[in-house]
């Protein structure tokens, strides 16, 4: 497995005709857009920014990065890139586990699906071969049953299954794809696109392959340097010592609650008070944790497997009670019972849905019910756990109120004439950091190219004092440049494709060194930032062409007009307009639109 060969084996699958062919990606695309997210966006742009996301002309790309499947730490990731049916923007979502690594070991760098199969199919990949096979037997099945079916058929050894559940088949607009039972391409509705194409699963069988690089001594050395930073006890990634490793992502719950940045009751409040404790990572670790699974080549092992011991869901064993769903289904819905949160997350894994979007759809409906805007018999009370569990199935099946919520919180709020109660940007729901208490995160939500997103510019790392470039979370000044820097850095790491959490220890230097040695070429930290900037601008160019013009970067008025009432951020709102002015100046954009000169300077046009 020669790492510098990356990009030479992209499989194009026409689902309409069943034809599969392997082609090299254009060399200048690989040079400019690196791999993973960047290269995937370039392929999706080629299909056209104006396509119907659920029509056969939309393109569904699964793209590895040049480091995927190698021995580099945290390199078990790939990007799924398509035009989102939820937002109408380009979207990319990333998955941990082993599917990405196995695709590389099987001899491929990416999969580009076009068209629409006449009947349900799955792609089977092994030893440099790909075939489309009949998925009739698993159509209608959940992800867990689908994975079990393929394990039965192909054995468990070296097998990864990435599948959609009923939500994807029914084109729930925030349907996910899940591999290894519980690692998802979570956001943006990539599962609905797979469902629209009748693509049930991608099944890959491949054992580990060793990387070949021009200088194996240097390769060992740069990997050791990166691993040392990941292991450093000062970093949250430090195995079994750092907060992320010990408690998983939900180590965040108590701190965002403390600083008044934990949206509660559909962000009407900014803290969950003492009730945050029972949905926190500490509580889960002390009461429910049974295992710490990991992904390919990752010593951090942030995944947390839990077992529910009592109550109606006793015996449920699942992973993971991540921070995002613990918030979206927890404080956001006024629910402090982690057992019901675990239950709904597991339903989302099985039915193939994004629990961030689902929790926000619930909280919209709860606020609407409280205010009397919902038809009689369709109400949903704050914190009604049994109703949330039942409604999750109904959303996946598009039944009853579930059919309304299946189109996401923005459309659900619009359907009752109150779009203002959807906490969403460009149609995608906000995640778990209230922009009144973490101002840079708000700017990140507004300017994310895939709709509201915490991961495109994870400036929380600076605002929470995790990385050395720490900043005051309540200060708006300086956030424009900061958000741009984080967006560009993450655009690059998402293209390598390394786990986002590597950035809690590594930076542009470590990325550049590993990439340079793997590819056998010169590459410096400044090249990392330039490539990241190019990829971010490419996405924005796609969105501009898809109809997102001036003034598209917004936040819900609740964040800019209703002051926080909780300690830590009391009295604060998001100063979005001021931050946006700074940001556009740093980006050299015209009110959110990339000028032609900028596209040319970056080599996009």
């Amino acid at each position: 497995m020669k790492l510098s060969d990356f990009g030479k084996s992209i499989v194009h699958i026409d689902l309409t005709t069943g034809n599969c062919r392997v082609e090299a990606a254009p060399l200048d695309w690989v040079e400019k857009f690196i791999g993973g997210r960047g290269l995937g966006v370039r392929y999706v742009l080629e299909a056209g920014p104006e396509v119907d996301p659920l029509g056969p002309e939309n393109r569904l790309c699964f793209m590895n990065g040049p480091l995927t499947g190698s021995e580099a730490s945290m390199s078990g990731r790939w990007a799924c890139v398509t035009k989102s049916p939820l937002t109408g923007t380009v979207t990319d979502s990333h998955q941990g586990g082993w599917s990405a690594a196995r695709l590389r070991w099987a001899g491929f760098d990416g999969l580009v699906f076009d068209g629409q199969a006449e009947a349900p199919v799955y792609a089977f990949i092994e030893d440099g071969e790909i075939s489309l096979r009949d998925a009739g037997e698993v159509w209608g099945q959940g992800v867990h049953a689908t994975v079990a079916f393929f394990r039965e058929r192909y054995g468990t050894k070296n097998l990864s299954v990435n599948a959609i559940g009923p939500a994807g088949e029914n084109q729930v607009l925030f349907a996910a794809q899940v591999n290894e039972d519980d690692r998802a391409f979570g956001r943006g509705g990539t599962g609905a696109v797979a469902g629209s194409k009748n693509l049930k699963a991608i099944v890959i069988r491949a054992g580990q392959k060793k990387s070949q690089v021009p200088d194996s001594k240097a390769w060992k050395e740069v990997r050791r340097q990166a691993l040392d930073t990941i292991r450093d006890e000062a970093n949250i990634t430090s195995p079994r010592k750092g907060g992320l490793s010990v408690y998983g992502t939900n180590v965040l719950m108590n701190v965002t609650n403390t600083i008044g940045a934990l949206g509660t009751r559909n962000s009407q409040l900014t803290s969950f008070g003492e009730r945050a404790e029972t949905i926190s990572g500490e509580w889960v670790e002390q009461n429910l944790l049974v295992n710490d699974p990991t992904c390919h080549a990752c010593p951090v092992a942030c995944k947390k497997e839990v077992e529910i011991k009592d109550g109606p869901w006793a015996g449920l064993r699942m992973e993971s009670v991540e921070y995002e769903p613990a918030w979206s289904l927890g404080s956001n819905c006024d629910n402090s019972n982690v057992a019901s949160i675990a239950k709904v997350i597991d339903q989302c894994n099985d039915e193939g849905m994004d629990p961030i979007e689902l929790g926000n759809a619930f909280s919209v409906w709860m606020e609407a019910s409280e205010k009397g805007w919902v038809a009689e018999g369709q109400e949903l009370a704050w914190g009604d756990e049994a109703a949330m569990v039942a409604l999750t199935d109904a959303v996946a099946a598009r039944e009853g109120v579930g059919a309304i919520l299946a189109d996401g919180p923005s459309r659900a709020a619009e359907s009752i004439g109150h779009p203002e109660i959807a906490m969403a940007v460009k149609g995608q729901a906000v995640p778990a950091y209230d922009p009144r208490g973490l101002k840079g995160m708000g700017l990140g939500y507004a300017t994310s190219n895939r709709g509201a997103c915490h991961l495109r510019a994870y400036v929380a790392a600076a605002e929470l004092g995790v990385v050395p470039s720490e900043v005051d979370p309540l200060e708006w000044q300086g956030k424009g440049e900061l958000v741009k820097t984080f967006q560009d850095l993450h655009a690059f790491s998402d293209s390598l494709d390394l786990c986002k959490f590597s950035a809690f220890a590594e930076g542009a230097e470590e990325y550049a060194r590993q990439f340079a040695v793997a590819m056998g070429k010169e590459f410096e930290a400044e090249d990392v930032m330039l490539a990241g900037e190019r990829i971010y601008n490419l996405e924005r160019y796609f969105n501009n062409l898809a109809g997102f013009g001036r003034g598209s970067d917004t936040l819900p008025a609740r964040f800019t007009e209703e002051p926080s009432t909780a300690a830590g951020s009391k009295g604060h709102v998001s100063e979005l307009d001021r931050m946006l002015a700074e940001y556009y100046a740093a980006r050299e954009w015209d009110e959110g639109v990339v000028p032609e000169a900028k596209l040319q300077a970056l080599g996009i046009l």
């Binding site: 949250i236 907060g243 701190v255 600083i259 500490e282 929470l464 004092g465 309540l474 986002k500 830590g568």
Partner: protein, 91 residues
Amino acid sequence: MEIAFYATLERLVGQRRVELPLAPGATVRELTEALAANWPELGEHLFEATGELSRRVNIFVAGRNVRWLEGLETRVGEGDAVDIFPPVAGG
């Protein structure tokens, strides 16, 4: 005065909350010195060799990181919650 510890610092101290015999108006310097005297291992986490507040802790008084207030000279007012975290983030 009650102080709360979270995540790996809760493990280190062995409990979520501790009581210190300090009156409202005490500074964070007084508070951290009292903590270091009672839990020497915690003390190593609280301070850099230079005596400055360590990057390995974030101390919040009434929800504000003291780094953005007066640092070690920040005063803890009547009723102000004091919460001490290691650096934490996730996704």
